[in-house]
């Protein structure tokens, strides 16, 4: 009997969460190309790290894809598909140069992994091909989205509440705005370089 009550309570809780999950949408303007919009850290809330490991490839002297957004605690795998030697390093995470790291060298077809525990943008570089670059944006919450070609975005499954939402774009200054979600929330950004 007691076990049944627990199950029912859990189901009700889950249903209530779903019922209160909303969206944050808006538009990022002032820049062209893909931007990232994410919910900043929520006081008192932590989120389990995803088990999925996104892969960033080095192919044809390019990082592919150019932009990857991951939740804090995600492990990213770096693959070298080229028949030339490559390297991956970053000089900072979120501007903090103490978090710079160099993954070294590894042969074609092999991967190296790294777990990103600190939120912020990670500018990836290759020290033998200076033109190569990519970005990992590490977000403190699982609530993030990238913009479409028009700059529109939509973050799904955000619980009702008040948040700080940040927009990031390569080479532009971050912009943060407070947003309240009550089923829906809205935040537009105009970024500048």
């Amino acid at each position: 009997m007691k076990r049944n009550l627990v199950v029912i309570a859990a189901l009700l809780n889950a249903l209530s969460l779903l019922a209160s999950a909303g969206t944050i949408s808006g538009k990022v303007s002032g820049v062209s190309g893909e931007s990232v919009v994410y919910v900043e850290a929520i006081a008192g809330k932590t989120f389990p790290a995803p088990t999925e490991k996104p892969v960033i490839d080095q192919k044809g002297l390019m990082f592919q894809p150019h932009l990857v957004v991951v939740q804090q605690g995600t492990t990213v795998e770096f693959l070298n598909s080229d028949k030339v030697a490559h390297n991956v390093f970053w000089i900072s995470v979120g501007g903090n140069k103490k978090l710079g790291h160099n993954l070294g060298t590894w042969p074609q077809g092999e991967k190296k992994s790294f777990k990103f525990d600190t939120p912020g943008a990670v500018p990836l570089l290759c020290n033998v091909h200076p033109e190569m670059s990519a970005y990992i944006v590490v977000t403190p919450t699982p609530y993030f989205a990238t913009t479409d070609k028009s700059g529109n975005y939509k973050i799904e499954n955000v619980p009702d509440g008040s948040y700080t939402v940040t927009a990031w774009h390569e080479g532009a200054k971050n912009q943060s705005k407070p947003t309240t979600v009550a089923g829906e929330g809205k935040a537009d950004f105009t970024l500048s370089k």
């Binding site: 044809g60 080229d82 030339v84 390093f89 160099n102």
Partner: protein, 506 residues
């Protein structure tokens, strides 16, 4: 018998030009085609890193899987399937999707020490070139094209559109086709035989034409014109050929320059005048001329020991460093030999006499690299057989062997990358010659023998990967010159000079 004063003046002028306009090239055309930085192939352009050496060895292609790196697809001059129809159709090839053109310009500023004109002051009746204390000088404006036509056929053409601001002084540098790995048709090991045809710089241990130094290595520019002092036995040698001279001919080569063995064997036009010759320079008059009827020979063999501990890394194009790929730690040892004939014509008692003086150049070289530090150098010995008129200049009917004209020398240079964009250089050049062209002003001032040496510290900054600022200071220790009575007759022509250079390629 011969007036050497014009030759000496010309030599001084050429030396000044050599100081001010060393040819060097990086290839923006490849940057455009592959969408990659100059730094992919160059340490400090035009000095190649290990990948750049492999790229060049492969015929201006990525050593493996070249097509996947091209950002601008080549234009097909025939479908690949046409290969199966050959010889009933033209073998399909490609041309680069963009005209593979690169341009380069450089400009100089130099400051020369106070004694720069002392040698002229000692001979005001017939002075040589007066040199200003400071001077701004435009250098080269060059166009160069290079790439691959598919089927492992590479090409290179570079042309100086102007030199020193004068449109008239330019000329073809290298222009050749290279058939890479033709040994496959004879079932030889991969890359063991390639063929290069056209006008090219000899496969020297270190390329004067593509050197990152502002001034050329003296030993590569050394001609052999024999002693001019009346105190030594007569030498009629007048061979303006220098190892840096362009050659016209055919070259067989094989191996790699980034690991293991490398060889080349070239058969090139005879060259006495210091310029590559063609048939129409053979003139039946007194003087010295190049004569393409005879072919000079050049051979080189080198072996590079990659010294990485990890065997897998040792055999790769670049070593796997802890913080990324880098040039190998290596020791490269090599040797080279050039054999030719120098053609001179004299007025004999019964007409013009032709002397074909055999000469050779023999040398050895090394290069040691450890991470960002590269120490390298070479030694060369030059020997020209000296044919003097027999029985004497007035009644000459033939030639007899005289005292050979010889010289020797080399250089030792260290490059250190203080940062990926800053290279520090220290270099020592030495040439010991029985007729040092730098210090001689005429037969009356000629030293019996001379050791010409200089220290050249320098620093180079990459402002961008394609823009460079460079500075070098040439320190020439003074050398005493005595007349036939043993008196010191003039301060020698040994000037220190500082040269600054700005150059860009695009």
């Amino acid at each position: 018998m011969r007036s050497r004063r014009p030759l000496i003046s010309l030599t001084l002028l050429l030396l000044t030009l050599a100081v001010l306009s060393s040819s060097s090239y990086a290839i923006p055309a490849f940057s455009r085609q592959y969408g990659t930085s100059c730094a992919t192939c160059h340490v400090d352009f035009p000095k190649l890193n290990d990948f750049g050496k492999a790229f060049k060895d492969a015929g201006f292609k990525f050593p493996k899987d070249d097509e996947s790196f091209l950002k601008v697809p080549p234009v097909m001059l025939g479908a690949p399937a046409q290969k199966d129809l050959w010889p009933h159709t033209i073998f399909p090839g490609t041309i680069p999707g963009l005209p593979p053109i690169g341009l380069r310009f450089n400009t100089f500023f130099q400051v020369v020490s106070k004694n720069r004109n002392d040698i002229n002051a000692a001979n005001l009746a017939n002075p040589g070139t007066f040199i200003p204390r400071t001077d701004f000088q435009p250098g080269l404006f060059s166009i160069f094209m290079a790439g691959n036509f598919g089927s492992d056929i590479a090409f290179w053409v570079d042309e100086d559109l102007s030199v020193g601001g004068s449109n008239a002084d330019g000329g073809l540098g290298d222009g050749y086709l290279k058939f890479v790995n033709v040994g496959r048709f004879f079932k030889l090991p991969t890359d063991s035989l390639s063929l290069r045809i056209g006008q090219f710089e000899l496969d020297l241990p270190f390329s004067p034409a593509r050197s990152h130094n502002l001034s050329g290595w003296d030993i590569f520019d050394e001609a052999n014109i024999g002693a001019m002092s009346s105190l030594v036995p007569e030498q009629n040698v007048n061979n303006a050929f220098a190892m840096s001279s362009a050659a016209q001919g055919i070259e067989f080569s094989g191996g790699h320059t980034y690991r293991g063995y490398h060889y080349s064997l070239a058969i090139v036009n005879q060259n006495t005048g210091g310029n590559p010759s063609s048939g129409d320079t053979v003139q039946p008059v007194v003087g010295f001329f190049s004569d393409s009827n005879f072919k000079d020979l050049y051979g080189r063999f080198s072996y590079r020991f990659n010294l990485e501990r990890d065997p897998a890394s040792r055999n790769e194009v670049q070593a796997a460093g802890a913080t990324g790929p880098r040039d190998h730690t290596y020791l490269n040892l090599g040797s080279f030999y050039f054999y030719g004939r120098s053609v001179q014509r004299f007025q004999g008692a019964n007409g013009v006499l032709t002397a074909r003086e055999p000469f050779y150049r023999l040398g050895g070289d090394f290069s040691f690299n450890y991470h960002a530090f590269n120490l390298y150098g070479m030694y060369m010995y030059g020997h020209d057989k000296n044919l003097t008129l027999f029985p004497d200049a007035e009644t000459a009917t033939g030639f007899q062997s005289g005292v050979p004209a010889t010289f020797s020398g080399g250089f030792l240079q260290a490059d250190y990358m203080l940062a990926p964009w800053v290279m520090g250089i220290m270099r020592y050049d030495v040439v010991k010659s029985s007729a040092d062209r730098i210090n001689t002003f005429g037969t009356e001032l000629s030293p019996l023998s001379a050791t010409r040496n200089r220290f050249t510290p320098g620093v180079q900054f990459l402002i961008h990967a394609n823009i460079k600022a460079a500075l070098e200071y040439q320190i020439r220790p003074q050398q005493t010159v005595f007349d036939s009575d043993g008196n010191r007759i003039a301060k020698p022509f040994r000037t220190n000079s500082a040269v600054a250079d700005l150059e860009f390629v695009y």
